[in-house]
Every structure is written in structure tokens, then in C-alpha cells.
């Protein structure tokens, strides 16, 4: 049985009731992992409270930080500061330079692009080639597809169709996430998979993008963040204690 994950559930952390109801809803809809974007200034108590809420709803929690750097240097600075504090690092690419730097940096997990300004979607062949070498994924949020109407949605679907084809050609993993800010925009994983047929992503790839790809990213990062991790393929098996 597939374990589904929603890597971008945008819960309003200041509203405890709404946060709890959205996490419970995610669990009811069949997700076993939710990833909640957290401000870098958040305290450890707030994170542990969030983990407690997720435990009650029987859903796993992964912490995520959304970076929106203005230039490549700012991106590198933010990565140095936050990479070891969060399980998922997503970069919203506002400029081409940032997009290229994010695509080639192995510390970046998810590449995000604007859904309203399509000129700021820089996912082309060069970007895909860099991303495929650095194991970063292309993140596609599905809430905008539900919320946009008429020409805005048509243009977005057309753009996504091209990007998905490019990603598949260069073997860049695709991660589908809800990007939901309320319960109204939350759907079951199979419903999201059906929605992706609108931009010609095959159902099998869509299900992989909702289950396998996000889990691989989260598990890889959890291993890297664990105290026993030394380098890729090398980990501490046990420690000798001298009597």
C-alpha cells in the first residue's frame, strides 16, 4: 500500500484550531506525512507542540523552510544557516540566477516557481539538467489549479505541461504538493493524481510524485540530520564506551 505525503500544507500556525483541523483532515484524506512550512524564527516549543498535534492525528510531521532569496549569495547564506535545522528546504526562485544556483546545490530539496507570473518560471532544459545532477525535485502545487479560473488556469496548465515533459526527459523527480491554506483546497491523493492528467502527467507518475518521491527526500534528509550520519554511505554503527 502506498504511503502518501503532502509536502506543502500551509497551515496558519497562529490559529491553533484551524491548524489542528487541517492536520486531522490530511490524516482523514489518507496522508501519512505532512510537511508544514515553518518560519526560521520558530521556537522548539512550537515545533514540539505541532509534532504533538500530528501524533494525535496519527500523521507524521516533517518541518520545512521556504526560502525566497533575492540573489544567489543570499541563497547560499540562508542554506548555510537553515539547512541543518529543517527536514525540507524549498527555494522559491524569483530570478534566473537564483534558479540556477538552487538547481545545482545539493542542499536544496524542492524548486518552486511562481504560479501567477509565468515569466518567472525558469524551469527549462538547462535548469532541468542541473536539477537532475543535484537530486533536487520540481515541486508542483495543486491548489492554484483549483483556485485559478479561465485564462489564468489555461496558461498555467500549458506551462506545467511543458515543464513536466522537460522534467521527465531529464529524469528530474517531480513532487506534487497541495499548497493548501484551508480545508477547502485539500483533496485525496488519487483526486490530485487525476488533476495532473490536465497537464498530461501519467497517473503512475503522479502517484509516485505524491508518495515515493516525497518520502525518498524526507528519509534521505532525516538520515543526514541524524547524529550517526557521517557521509553518504557512512554512518556510525555503535560507539565504544570505556569502563
Amino acid at each position: 500500500m502506498k504511503r502518501f505525503a503532502d509536502l506543502h500544507l500551509r497551515v496558519p500556525l497562529e490559529d491553533q484550531t484551524k491548524t489542528e483541523s487541517m492536520i486531522r483532515k490530511a490524516s482523514e484524506l489518507g496522508y501519512s506525512l505532512v510537511c508544514i512550512p515553518i518560519s526560521p524564527q520558530v521556537t522548539k516549543e512550537q515545533i514540539s507542540q505541532l509534532k504533538h498535534t500530528c501524533n494525535d492525528a496519527k500523521v507524521d510531521l516533517a518541518t520545512r523552510v521556504n526560502l525566497s532569496p533575492r540573489n544567489p549569495n543570499e541563497l547560499l547564506h540562508s542554506l548555510r544557516r537553515y539547512r541543518r535545522r529543517f527536514e525540507i528546504v524549498a527555494v522559491r526562485c524569483h530570478t534566473k540566477n537564483v534558479a540556477r544556483q538552487a538547481a545545482k546545490d545539493r542542499r536544496v530539496d524542492l524548486l518552486q516557481f511562481s504560479v501567477t507570473n509565468l515569466r518567472k518560471r525558469f524551469f527549462d532544459e538547462s535548469e532541468a539538467e542541473l536539477a537532475s545532477q543535484a537530486f533536487s525535485s520540481l515541486e508542483i502545487e495543486l491548489a492554484p489549479i483549483l483556485q485559478l479560473t479561465s485564462y489564468s488556469r489555461i496558461r498555467l496548465l500549458s506551462r506545467l505541461r511543458k515543464e513536466v515533459a522537460t522534467a521527465e526527459r531529464f529524469k528530474v523527480p517531480i513532487t506534487l504538493s497541495s499548497g493548501a491554506t484551508d480545508e477547502q483546497s485539500m483533496r485525496r491523493p488519487h483526486d490530485y493524481a487525476a488533476l495532473t492528467t490536465l497537464f498530461d502527467l501519467p497517473i503512475s507518475s503522479a502517484l509516485k510524485a505524491l508518495s515515493e518521491n516525497p518520502w525518498v527526500t524526507v528519509e534521505r534528509n532525516r538520515e543526514k540530520l541524524s547524529s550517526s550520519y557521517l557521509a553518504p554511505g557512512i554512518r556510525v554503527a555503535g560507539r565504544r564506551t570505556d569502563d
Binding site: 484524506l29 480545508e183 488519487h190 483526486d191 488533476l195 490536465l198 497517473i203
Partner: protein, 104 residues
């Protein structure tokens, strides 16, 4: 001999503040199919409302098996019915009503 068209039965759960009736649900699904795939696409879906199961609060509709994913996409993209915000979730899909009632 003309081959019989295969169907898929879908159980739909509606989440809305106001109670909705069968015709509203079918109308919303049809409108969504037309919005996404046009009249030509809608003509291929063969959408029909089968029944409402009050104890499970589920509506059962059927469609052509070739258009299943398109109908699911249309159902997922519904954000309102009759001007009120509402969402629809497909809770089960099957080739027969008997199997569907076992699944949901």
C-alpha cells in the same frame, strides 16, 4: 456485434455547510466537466446519477470507464455548488454497484 460500454461507479462525499440534493451534485459535476473538457469531452463521459445513500451521506454516479480520470479531475476541481463553497471527494470507484458498496 456492438460491444457494451464499460462503466465505473463513483461514490462521492460532499463537504458543504448547506445540505445539497442529488440534482445539485450532478449539475455541479456536469458543469465542471464542461468547464474543463468542453461539450465534446462531456458528451463522452456518459454521466448519470445513480443514487444517494443517506446513511453514508454519499452520492453514487456512473461514467464511462475511459473517462474516469477526467471525471475525477472535474470532481476534484469543484469549489462551490449553487454559490456556496463546497468540495467533493471521491471515496471509492468500482465496476459494479455491489463492489462499490463493499468498498465504501
Amino acid at each position: 456485434m456492438i460491444k457494451r460500454e464499460k462503466r465505473r461507479y463513483l461514490a462521492i462525499e460532499v463537504a458543504s455547510e448547506q445540505p445539497v440534493d442529488k440534482q445539485t451534485v450532478l449539475g455541479a459535476v456536469q458543469a465542471s466537466v464542461i468547464r474543463l473538457f468542453g461539450e465534446y469531452g462531456a458528451s463522452k463521459t456518459n454521466l448519470k446519477l445513480i443514487k444517494y445513500v443517506p446513511e453514508k451521506r454519499q452520492f453514487v454516479i456512473c461514467c464511462s470507464h475511459k473517462m474516469l480520470e477526467k471525471v475525477r479531475a472535474a470532481i476534484a476541481s469543484i469549489m462551490e455548488t449553487n454559490g456556496e463553497s463546497a468540495t467533493m471527494h471521491v471515496v471509492g470507484v468500482s465496476g459494479t454497484l455491489k463492489a462499490l458498496s463493499k468498498k465504501t
